[in-house]
């Protein structure tokens, strides 16, 4: 079974995020005065094979723990779904 995951990597709460602050400032400069919080992060879209949802979840946890996020400063969570149009198998 082929799976698609969207992994969200975020700075831990409390860690200053100058990129997010700068984006918030840009939005306020455009007149979106009510914007008082922007946090930046990384979005990764992964396609991979695993025989079951449990094993796909386990694989993602391992990927995040070993490489995709640094637990000193980041958290990772994800949304996982079956890929119903696997690469190379979909039409056109």
């Amino acid at each position: 079974m082929r799976w698609l995951a969207e992994v969200h990597i975020r700075l831990r709460p409390g860690i200053a995020d100058p990129e997010g602050q700068t984006i918030a400032g840009g939005l306020r400069a455009l007149g979106f005065d009510s914007v008082d919080d922007v946090r930046s992060g990384t979005l990764l879209r992964l396609g991979f094979r695993a025989p079951s949802r449990d094993e796909a979840e386990d694989a993602l946890a391992s990927m995040c723990g070993r490489l995709l996020a640094n637990p000193v400063m980041e958290t990772a969570d994800w949304e996982l779904r079956l890929d119903d149009e696997p690469v190379g198998e979909a039409d056109g």
Binding site: I15, P18, V72
Partner: protein, 242 residues
């Protein structure tokens, strides 16, 4: 140790300071060997240097990919046996990602890449790297980074302070550690730390770019000379064969 020191200088795809380190080693009469990141052995080395640059493009996070390069297993073993390891700039970031030093380096708080001369307050720490320097002295070294904001948990910061492992802090020319003198928003103005044994040293500044008066300063030489003195006093380590 009667022969001249031998240093292994690691090269990852995107490393940019390896030739500067090798150049300084040459000035001092040392042997420097550039070691490509896919090698699994360091060869006969008295010390290992991880230079600055952008290993693997800094993709995902600085040092995140480099820490899994084959050579890093050899570096970890070398460090575990007490061998001197220096990481400068991107090398510091890699050592943190590899877990050889605590904490991480985040994007500078002002989001700018900062390339400048920087005054640093020295705290003499145990180990090979700062023994020729005096606590409380001020040195000037170049910095050149976009992601140098040192961050660690409150517990880790306390442990670093309590155990005397903060080696360098950003300061003004008089050695005052102030917010204005902090070029990147590092916690407690930390510019360099050592591990518990003192043999692994990570620093954001570039000592290899301050080794000749003609290019602005020679304060970086003190770090190389500290290593040389330490190697003389530690023949068993210096004669290690890996």
């Amino acid at each position: 140790m009667s022969r001249s020191p031998r240093v292994a200088v690691l090269v990852f795809p995107g490393t940019w300071s390896e030739r500067d380190f090798a150049h300084v080693a040459g000035l001092l009469g040392w042997e420097a060997r550039l070691v490509w990141h896919t090698e699994r052995e360091l060869g006969e080395a008295d010390a290992v240097i991880l230079p600055g640059g952008f290993a693997h493009g800094d993709h995902l996070r600085t040092g995140a990919i480099a820490r899994f390069s084959p050579v890093m297993s050899a570096v970890a073993a070398f460090a575990a046996s007490g061998g001197p390891v220096l990481g400068s700039c991107n090398g510091f970031q890699i050592l943190c990602e590899a877990g050889l030093l605590p904490g991480v380096l985040l994007r500078n708080d002002h989001l700018e890449f900062r390339c400048d001369w920087q005054s640093l307050l020295v705290e003499q720490v145990r180990g090979p790297w700062l023994n020729q320097m005096t606590s409380g002295s001020v040195i000037r070294l170049p910095i050149s980074h976009g992601e140098g904001r040192y961050y660690a948990s409150p517990e880790t910061l306390e442990e670093l302070e309590r155990s005397g492992r903060v080696a360098l802090r950003y300061a003004d020319a008089d050695g005052n550690v102030t917010a204005d003198a902090n070029p990147n928003g590092s916690q407690r103005s930390i510019a360099g730390i050592v591990n518990e044994r003192g043999n692994v040293f990570g620093m954001m500044p570039h000592p290899e770019r301050a080794a000749e008066a003609e290019i602005g300063g020679i304060d970086g030489l003190q770090i190389f000379r500290s290593l040389a003195e330490w190697l003389v006093a530690q023949p068993a380590v210096a004669e290690r064969r890996l």
